[in-house]
């Protein structure tokens, strides 16, 4: 690895650390600006004010905001993400308990996308203006415009309630993955298929593709080695960004399928103003995002040697 690349990586790491620091401050302040008192949500309705202030004290919410932030950062430095207000256990424990389910679901959605949408996009581009192209792009428009909560509910009604083929909810067996994966991947597949198609179309018009063909290379080689590698940059970017997003939890899909993942955890935590959980999830998902962005940027330099950062 050359020195320039090393310097580049170092600089990117520094940027990433600063970004994460900014995110801790931003989420910390933002959460507390939203109206709603966590203490009041633990106590029953009509709880006496004295009880509420006692609970605020127990939760550490009676300190001034800057002190709370200082304490939060101090604990964070020791990898202590705080104790969940509602569950009274370390927030990170809850997040790590849920993370594997979210990762598994996200990866299966990404795998489905890459396996179906990328080839579909390529074929649609190569056989432009054919029935396949129209069909694939029509399906893509549907995939992008159908709200996923509706799709999820329809899939449950059809395959679980009526046909009894697939389970409704939970994450115990591979069968449990089928419907949530389709629901989660629907939008992503549509996006990636369309992107692949347009990106391929652009590349296929380039001179070097014509040159490759003129050299007498096989269609397969032209497509995979010359065209796709160049068309891949926007696809890799989008898929990478989506992994980051998915790791933060697919709130709607997880809620509909009662998937024990991060999304369901964080949405409940937001309703209940369980700051430590929300902060832990946001920070981890920001971390994933930043890390994936870094990896994607490094992949660029591999995919296109002209891309070099100074």
């Amino acid at each position: 690895m050359c020195a320039a690349v090393k310097r580049y990586i170092f600089r990117r790491l520094l940027h990433s650390a600063l970004t994460l620091l900014g995110i801790t401050l931003f989420t910390f302040v933002l959460l507390r600006l939203v109206p709603g008192d966590p203490a009041r949500l633990i106590l029953p309705e009509n709880a006496p004010p004295a009880e509420v202030s006692h609970m605020r004290k127990l939760l550490g919410l009676d300190e001034p905001l800057y002190v709370q932030y200082y304490l939060y950062m101090r604990d964070l430095a020791r990898a202590d993400f705080g104790t969940s207000f509602q569950y009274s256990v370390p927030a990170i424990e809850l997040v790590l308990e849920r993370l594997p389910e979210t990762i598994r679901l996200s990866l299966s959605a990404i795998a489905l996308t890459v396996a179906l949408a990328v080839p579909a996009g390529i074929v649609a581009a190569v056989r432009r203006q054919t029935l396949f192209d129209f069909g694939a792009m029509l399906a893509a428009i549907f995939g992008q415009s159908i709200p996923n909560f509706w799709l999820g509910l329809m899939l449950i009604l059809l395959f679980s309630v009526n046909m009894h083929w697939l389970p409704v909810s939970g994450a115990s067996t591979w069968l449990h993955y089928v419907l949530p994966t389709i629901t989660l991947a629907a939008y992503l597949m549509a996006l990636v298929a369309r992107l692949t198609r347009s990106s391929m179309l652009e590349v296929l018009r380039q001179d070097y593709v014509r040159t490759a063909r003129a050299k007498g290379l096989a269609q397969r080689v032209v497509l995979w080695r010359h065209a796709l590698k160049n068309a891949a940059i926007p696809i890799v970017t989008v898929v990478g960004m989506q992994i980051g997003t998915l790791l933060g939890g697919a709130v709607v899909t997880e809620t509909i399928f009662n998937w024990p993942g991060i999304g369901k955890l964080v949405i409940e935590a937001i309703w209940r103003r369980d700051y430590p959980i929300v902060q832990a999830v946001l920070l981890l998902s920001a971390f994933a995002f930043v890390a994936i962005n870094l990896i994607v940027d490094l992949l660029y330099t591999y995919l296109d040697p002209r891309i070099r950062y100074q």
Partner: protein, 521 residues
């Protein structure tokens, strides 16, 4: 089943009574008999029952919550000293008998030979530890306020606990029904509440927070071994997923089914619905401390101006009862009042008398997003009704946390909410809502003040004789009904979706889903 019974000409009430009796006979009855005989008389526990709950129980510490779902789940592995039976009688659980020695002293004789799941014996020490822990300021207790009158618990001997209170504690027994007993030794260990041991019918085997809790039969249960070998509670927040999980065969009992989904379940050959009137009052709370609702005439006008019958019939499809008292009939101390009829002319006259011309007052009704069945639809219909008496109502659907903040801060005109009297005692229903003299102590969010009501509520707290308490609470309810700090709406019906093979399942009026004595046929 419901439809069949209806075909037989049974009324809803008749059906409920009948089913209560049947369930009692099948469930509790059998359990009692078994405990009277011996555990050996009962068949070996078999089968697994899965219950889908709409709310997350969050914690397994009996002091740290005040959620219906937590009570439901806890009731299966903890036992209280006493509990309500289906007819509303106080019956023994871990206490064999009890009496008040004087106004501030109670003696509880405890059941012998009861063991916690970890083997620790249940003794008066458990009672002392459990109750004193609730009022310990170091403990993150959500129930300290309920037990505020408690002074101390004295261990007279292993099987006798003496409870002393600072003042007369009229609702001690009903409060006791909510408190599962803890093993005094083990519960002091760190991490105990991750997988606690109770004395209950089931012992916890696995906990996935925010998702599920799995239990197995406690074959040494003092009431005789349960009939189910395994019991799982799952938290399924999304209503349609909950219904689908039942219809898809993944769950056997699910709670909070809305009336429109109910029909879908009734159409299924393998499923039915169970219904019961709850102890929840669906109400609209007025801010009695500021205009326009500081004027009792405006509050009365609004009570006359809403067609409650229509709300129940058209929006709730009949699955609620129009309220005729501030609290529901299954609450101890309930006293029936004369409902405010739907009377536009009278409502208009009252508003005029209070000085409001047509097109006023202009008020905002805040609703708790997604919390109450058909809450937003009902609120919008109410705004429509009130437009007919000249009032302008803007409906604002607020997230729960914001709604509660607005109410605490007094930053509202009136709010749509429900009040579930979990302890099934008038004190909890009235003191918590209407005792205004101590607005800062009780957190009376209505800012309602009537000295006579305050006095009666205090009297009820300081009286132990049930009949005398009933009389006091009847007087209090009459005054509250006249002053209408609430717009009295209806008592919603609890609707559970149930697999037809499930027997012995109980819907408690205080919303608790009880499958302790259930089995699968």
């Amino acid at each position: 089943m419901v439809r069949k019974l209806r075909d037989l000409g049974l009324s809803r009430r008749g059906f409920l009574k009948g089913s209560a009796a049947a369930v009692g006979a099948l469930g509790l009855g059998v359990a009692r008999k078994a405990s009277a005989q011996s555990a050996a008389g009962r068949p070996r526990p078999t089968g697994e029952l899965v219950v889908g709950l709409s709310e997350d129980w969050q914690v397994l510490d009996p002091a740290a919550h005040f959620y219906i779902a937590a009570y439901t789940v806890h009731s299966h592995f903890y036992d209280p000293l006493v509990e309500w039976d289906e007819q509303g009688n106080m019956v023994p659980m871990l206490a064999e008998s009890w009496k008040s020695l004087d106004d501030r002293t109670w003696e509880f004789k405890l059941r012998r030979g009861v063991k916690f799941h970890n083997g620790e014996p249940f003794t008066a020490e458990s009672v002392k530890f459990t109750l004193e822990r609730i009022i310990d300021p170091q403990v993150k207790s959500a129930q300290a306020f309920l037990w505020a009158p408690l002074q101390s618990v004295e261990v007279k001997d292993d099987h006798t606990a003496i409870i002393r209170t600072k003042s007369t504690f009229g609702s001690l027994l009903s409060t006791m029904t909510m408190t599962g007993m803890l093993p005094a030794k083990a519960a002091k260990e760190p991490g105990f509440f991750a997988k606690p041991a109770g004395t209950g019918a089931f012992r916890i085997t696995r906990v996935v927070k925010g998702d599920r809790i799995e239990m197995e039969a406690n074959t040494d249960w003092w009431k005789g071994q349960p009939r189910l070998a395994k019991l799982t509670f799952r938290f399924i927040v999304e209503a349609s997923t909950r219904a689908a999980s039942l219809l898809g065969g993944e769950t056997h009992v699910v709670d909070r089914i809305s009336p429109d989904v109910m029909r879908q379940i009734e159409r299924s050959a393998r499923h039915t619905v169970a219904r019961k009137r709850s102890v929840e009052s669906q109400i609209i709370g007025f801010h009695c401390g500021k205009k326009p609702f500081s004027d009792v005439r405006v509050r009365q006008a609004f009570n006359y101006g809403v067609d409650k019958e229509a709300l129940v019939k058209d929006i709730l499809l009949g699955h609620s009862t129009v309220a005729d008292a501030p609290m529901a009939p299954d609450v101890f101390g309930y006293a029936k009042q004369q409902p405010y009829p739907y009377d536009i002319a009278k409502a208009k006259a009252l508003l005029k008398e209070a000085g409001y011309a047509d097109g006023s007052p202009e008020v905002e009704l805040i609703v708790m997003k997604g919390t109450y069945i058909k809450g937003l639809e009902v609120s919008e219909a109410i705004a429509g009704h009130l437009a007919k008496i000249g009032a302008k109502v803007k409906v604002n659907d607020m997230e729960v946390a914001r709604h509660r903040e607005a109410r605490a801060a007094g930053n509202f005109d009136f709010y749509f909410a429900g009040w579930a009297t979990m302890t099934r005692d008038a004190d909890f229903a009235l003191w918590r809502n209407f005792h205004a003299g101590e607005a800062t102590i009780t957190g009376n969010q209505l800012r309602y003040a009537n000295k006579d009501v305050d006095k009666l509520i205090e009297q009820g707290q300081q009286t132990i004789d049930p009949q005398a308490r009933k009389r006091v609470y009847a007087d209090a309810q009459r005054l509250i009904w006249r002053d209408c700090p609430w717009l009295f709406l209806y008592w919603p019906e609890l609707i559970h979706g149930v697999d037809k093979r499930v027997r012995g399942f109980r819907q408690e009026p205080n919303n608790i889903t009880l499958v302790r004595d259930a089995w699968l046929e």
